[in-house]
Amino acid sequence: MTDAPTNGNGSDWPGAPVHTAGDKRTELDELIGHVENGNTVAVGGGLSSREPMAIIRALIRKGVKDLNVVGSAHGIDIDLLCAGGCVSESSESYVGFEQDFGMAPNYRRACESGDVKVNDSCCYTVVQQLRATIMGLPFMPVRSIRGTSVFDMHPEYKTMTCPYTGEELTLVPAVQPDVAIIHAQYGDAHGNLRIEGPPVADILFAKASKKVVASVEEIVSNERLKELGGANIPYFYVTALAEVPMGAHPTACYPFYAYDRPHTKDYYDQAKQGAEAFKSGYLDPFVFGCTSHEAYLEKVGGEDTARHLGSWKDGDEAWMSLYGSTPA
């Protein structure tokens, strides 16, 4: 028996990676070292929930450039990355603040100035492109897209005639993000992650990406993780994780804290006034001026804010009061 077995098939396909290290815990600043200039990045969470904001602020501070962001429905995460000058291409399907505030000012500016190449996708297209990677296939078929301008925008989409039915189908190529950045409620030292509530596309991102880096509210034992309901992202997809409490702020990370709407309103108001105003009114104080996540948490109100945003648990009235535009 040989230690390095011979292989008569001569395959040199490296395959997608599995991350097998026994202890993957690290610090936020180490974590973001896995994101490199020019990477295709999948950002977890969506809209006003569970976006990896601490990671994003750290990436901006580090000055990461030329990211291609892919995903489904996003808000302040992609808008902030655009404001920070980190993005050169957007393949998201939505970036905005819904009816709450409307369009995403920094994202719009970056797209309209040409700094960010607009390469809009659509949720199911993204799902199918990630699934192709997850299944090791070069593409996935979909029935839709043909006939829309989204099809014309994407020369990489192809069509085929179905050999079973004779109908035409769209083919969308596999997308393999270089790295997925995810914020989860819980993780264990081995890297098993547990997302509570809607997982959005995070699980697909984790399975499809070459690397997954995660911030979590709490690192717990594997036993505790199972008591909580178990991992929905097994550890071998995960490259590294760091415990970063309030790491999704100002988006929500239930059950720990709700969406910080007053902070987001302030963000939006600053952003709406233009790039310069946003730099001095938001980026400088909240991103560049806070050299650590701990400094950021102090800046946004420390324990008081954490407690206030955790008060959604006190009943519907308390919960509803969090959606006003001023801090309580």
Partner: protein
């Protein structure tokens, strides 16, 4: 407007009427009028509706109040089950999603919508993007379109920024014709396309040819109002009726479901004062 029914409430009821019992329907995000319409339908004429909430993908949630953002645990409260993002879209692709609700900054006479960009050649305004609408518009059984910004008043130069346009700069969500005039059926799409449009000026269906047709007006709007604010000429139904007002129970239900009146953020400021009855 005490004692009166508001425009928002009337639009919600009109959207709710497009939802059949015993079907599955999905509201996207950023659409409180539609979210409320689904909850109204589920709690009135469509108890066996499979209500799939946008962004959370919860099934039949019972939110204590409408939140201003969709992907919030508030909106998932009381769900009896939950879907993943892939499962929601699979349902549509497999023909199981009977109805979806779409809108756009431009909506053309075939019911195609643009939520991607203004400027057919040069990018003039980047819109937030279509979410899942592009795929869904080809796949779901039927679509209700809506907009609360149909009215297009002339500016000082007499120019109007139409929401209902002759031709979209970009088709994000497909209606009954592509930009080059093909029908979805020629593309093998299985979805039935838009069958209704609810606006701040009236309600519409689509004729057998897939062309938008005015079927109803509010008590304070006229065919002329509609024509003036529409870049193309909509067909007119033989009998353009007055849009029925919601029953008092429905009004009360809406006010209970949305105590913060989140849905009024969708309305133009001037329309928030409109009331009927």
């Amino acid at each position: 407007m005490s004692g009166q029914v508001t425009l928002g409430e009337t639009m919600i009821a009109a959207i709710a009427r497009t939802i059949d019992d015993g079907t599955a329907a999905f509201h996207g995000f950023g659409s409180p009028l539609v979210q409320l319409a689904l909850h109204v339908a589920k709690r009135t004429h469509a108890p066996d509706l499979v209500l799939v909430a946008g962004a959370t993908y919860g099934i039949n949630p019972n939110p204590p109040f409408l939140a201003p953002t969709s992907n919030d645990w508030v909106m998932d409260r009381g769900s009896e089950a939950a879907l993943d993002i892939e499962e929601l879209f699979d349902l549509a692709a497999a023909g199981r999603m009977d109805r979806m609700f779409l809108s756009g900054l431009q909506i053309d006479k075939w019911g195609s919508c643009n939520v991607t960009r203004l400027g057919a050649n040069e990018l003039k305004l980047k819109l937030p993007g279509g979410g899942g609408g592009c795929n869904l518009s080809c796949d779901v059984g039927a679509m209700t379109l809506w907009t609360a910004a149909h009215r297009a008043p002339a500016n000082d130069q007499g120019k109007r920024r139409y929401r209902l346009v002759e031709k979209c700069d970009f088709i994000t969500n497909l209606g009954h014709r592509t930009l080059d005039g093909r029908r979805p059926a020629e593309l093998g799409h299985r979805g039935g396309g838009p069958d209704s449009l609810v606006t701040d000026l009236g309600v519409f269906d689509f004729d057998d040819d897939g062309h938008m047709r005015l079927t109803g007006l509010y008590s304070d709007t006229s065919v002329d109002d509609v024509m003036e604010s529409t870049q193309f000429e909509p067909k007119l139904a033989d009998d353009v009726a007055t849009i029925p007002l919601p029953e008092p129970e429905v009004v009360e239900l809406i006010r209970r479901l949305d105590p913060m009146r989140i849905h009024e953020r969708e309305l133009q400021p001037g329309d928030r004062k409109r009331g009927f009855g």
